[in-house]
């Protein structure tokens, strides 16, 4: 039996910087997972992914599991958590940018 569809966001890396990016509800690529669109239906998620992957300024777009949180979607796997925040050995990834907002 196929697994039930769980909420997803669309993520990729930006072509120029390699930075982790997410697709927003308005179809723009944003830097923060909290601003990402959440897809709760498989067909819509796959259609959006197919369209997003055509953008030549992004690399390797894929669907990633997310869970709703107080400030928008949250990652459900530690890999995506590291992608969201940046490496844990230096305070100079996205965590630094977030702290300077």
């Amino acid at each position: 039996m196929p697994r039930p569809f769980t909420p997803k966001a669309i993520t990729a890396n930006a072509l120029l910087e390699g930075d982790v990016i997410y697709l927003s509800a308005t179809g723009e690529w944003v830097r923060a997972l909290s601003d990402a669109a959440v897809f709760t239906e498989q067909a819509a998620a796959e259609a959006a992914l197919a369209e997003a992957a055509k953008d030549r300024m992004v690399v390797g777009a894929y669907l990633t599991d997310v869970a709703p949180g107080e400030n928008g979607p949250e990652p459900t796997h530690f890999r995506e958590d590291f992608r969201r925040t940046g490496p844990s050995n230096y305070f100079h990834g996205k965590q630094e940018a977030a702290a300077n907002v």
């Binding site: 072509l15 910087e17 390699g18 030549r56 459900t76 590291f82």
Partner: protein
């Protein structure tokens, strides 16, 4: 040190120009990512978790001060002020931006460096003993051979699309400091009846199927070496599995066909390729060797060293731990630790790189090495200069006295950076080093090699660590398996798994229990961890690692009685 000739110079410049065009076409949309990916990988450019990563070759780990200064300049100008030295004697930049990569490659070319063949299914950066040309136990300097192999293999038309990547390491001493038995081909230079040649070891490798290499031929004279290597790679290029990337490495080919069949095929191929060389390789080697002449060693008193060693306990601790025997009287080899407890193993800031370059310029014949253990070597240092070197290293926060000890850990970048990783390595290494620094037990524990990989590809060489740690993803949680008894020297052994893995917050206490058990079990301070393990086997260490299992077994036994 090798200096590019006109051909090398033109070749590297042409590659920079070619790749610059490819980057421009990727950005303007003329190339798709699918088209661009193999081109960027051919030039050492990966796309990792958070950013691009550029892997720069440091052939056989040898660098001049000028080259080290340029690496610092790149770190500062195009990256985030640091670089990461790897177990393949490369440097990796973790944050370059795609439009900047052509400029980085051009800056590298200015100091005769490049990133060619640091990725892809080709012959990778050739590594060598980091004490080459300096160590007291050396038969011959392995670097001229490594440079000859670099020249032969770079853009070799037959070997650009091999079944998988191919790694060659060269050692010129009996003591193996290049892990030659864990490479696709390992060469050990030997002298036989006044003739220099090499033992050729084939089919070693770590990764998901770790294997110790087998001797393909115990002695190949130098004049046959390059054609013999060509024959070996050629045989694998034909036989190597292309249907399954996990079975493509030469270790699997050797395993599936048997070393005798491989040897027979190599001999047959060697007879075919040998005439094509016609002695040109030996002419090239002769020219290369002239670049590796030893520096002019001097004879002078070592009083300053002796005085500092007697009077300054901090200097003494550093000197006793970080120096190795040099072949010239009055000289020493200095290993500079990039493993200060809490630091990311192998990272150096731009300022530290510049400090190392200046120290090498002032005191060490302008030469540095990068070791596969992610440290920096000053290969030729007169002992009288050691107090001044130590002071300069202290000023640069590089005077950690821990070479070969518990905090001198190899760790791959792991899931903090690497797209292939399944768990983090760096914070585990930091946690272990910090814990033993707090316990102040490091020197009492003595020689101990801990190696950590964040995935099964084993870039952290965990299989050959006395204590190996492999980070995995178990049902969405970081989990760490431990292996014991690995050895990456001339007596290479693959470590054995202890049992179930440990959660992230359990792994440092588990390592602490292991080492506490060793301190209890050893016959005395002279018995190393590895010797104790070899004497007693896995069981007492398992008991230390899994005390709850023993307690449970004890309860069940009591209940049954």
């Amino acid at each position: 040190m090798y200096r590019y000739n006109d051909f090398d110079e033109a070749f590297v410049r042409e590659r920079v120009a070619q790749f610059s065009g490819q980057v421009a076409r990727r950005i303007d949309g003329s190339l798709t990512e699918e088209e661009f990916r193999p081109l960027r990988l051919m030039n050492g450019l990966y796309l990792q978790l958070h950013a691009y990563m550029l892997r720069v070759a440091i052939p056989y780990g040898t660098l001049s001060s000028r080259q080290m200064d340029q690496l610092a300049h790149i770190a500062e100008t195009y990256d985030r002020g640091y670089g990461h030295f790897t177990t393949r004697q490369n440097i990796q930049y973790n944050w370059p931006k795609l439009p900047d990569v052509p400029a980085i490659l051009s800056d590298l070319a200015d100091v005769q460096m490049h990133a060619i063949q640091t990725s892809g299914n080709t012959i990778r950066n050739v590594t060598a003993d980091h004490f080459a040309g300096a160590s007291a136990d050396e038969v011959a300097d392995p670097r001229p051979i490594a440079e000859l192999i670099r020249q032969w293999s770079t853009d070799h038309p037959e070997f650009q699309f091999l079944p998988r990547k191919f790694k060659i390491a060269v050692s010129g001493a009996e003591a193996d400091r290049a892990v030659v038995r864990a490479h696709d081909i390992g060469l050990v230079l030997r002298e036989r009846a006044g003739t220099l040649g090499a033992e050729i070891i084939v089919g070693g490798g770590l990764g998901r199927t770790p294997m110790v290499g087998k001797t393909l031929k115990d002695f190949v004279p130098l004049q046959d070496l390059l054609p013999y290597l060509e024959a070996t790679v050629s045989v694998w290029n034909l036989l190597g599995r292309r249907d399954n990337k996990y079975k493509a490495r030469i270790k699997i080919t050797v395993h599936e066909h048997g070393i005798e069949e491989i040897r027979a095929r190599v001999e047959e191929r060697f007879a075919q390729v040998k005439p094509a060389f016609g002695g040109i390789d030996m002419e090239m080697l002769s020219e290369i060797e002239a670049h590796f002449a030893p520096p002019a060693f001097v004879t002078k008193p070592v009083d300053a060293y002796t005085r500092a060693h007697e009077a300054d306990p901090v200097f003494r601790a550093w000197a006793d731990t970080n120096l190795a025997a040099h072949k010239a009287e009055g000289y020493a080899i200095v290993t500079v630790s990039l493993k200060k407890p809490g630091q990311t193993p192998g990272d150096a800031s731009a300022d530290q790189m510049r400090a190392l370059a200046q120290i090498a310029r002032d005191f060490a014949h302008d030469e540095l090495r990068i070791s596969h253990e992610q440290n920096v070597i000053l290969p030729h240092v007169h002992k009288s200069d050691l107090p001044a070197i130590h002071a300069a290293l202290k000023a640069a926060d590089l005077a950690t006295a821990n070479i070969g000890l518990v905090s001198d850990i190899i760790a791959c970048p792991g899931m903090d950076y690497c797209a292939l990783a399944t768990a983090r390595s760096i914070p585990v290494a930091q946690g272990i080093a910090t814990r033993f620094n707090e316990l102040k037990l490091e020197h009492e524990i003595g020689p101990l090699k801990i190696k950590i990989s964040g995935c099964i590809n084993a870039c952290g060489h965990h299989h050959v660590g006395h204590i190996g740690i492999l980070g995995l993803d178990r049902a969405g949680v970081e989990n760490y398996q431990i292996t014991l008894g690995g050895d990456g020297t001339e007596t290479t052994v693959i470590g054995e798994r202890t049992g179930p893995g440990f959660a992230y917050d359990e792994i440092v206490p588990a390592i602490e229990r292991l080492i506490a058990a060793y301190l209890e079990l050893r016959t005395g301070p002279e018995e190393t961890f590895l010797q104790t393990y070899r004497r007693l086997g896995m069981d007492p260490f398992k008991t230390a690692l899994y005390p709850e299992k023993d307690a449970k077994a004890g309860k069940e036994k009591a209940h049954a009685a």
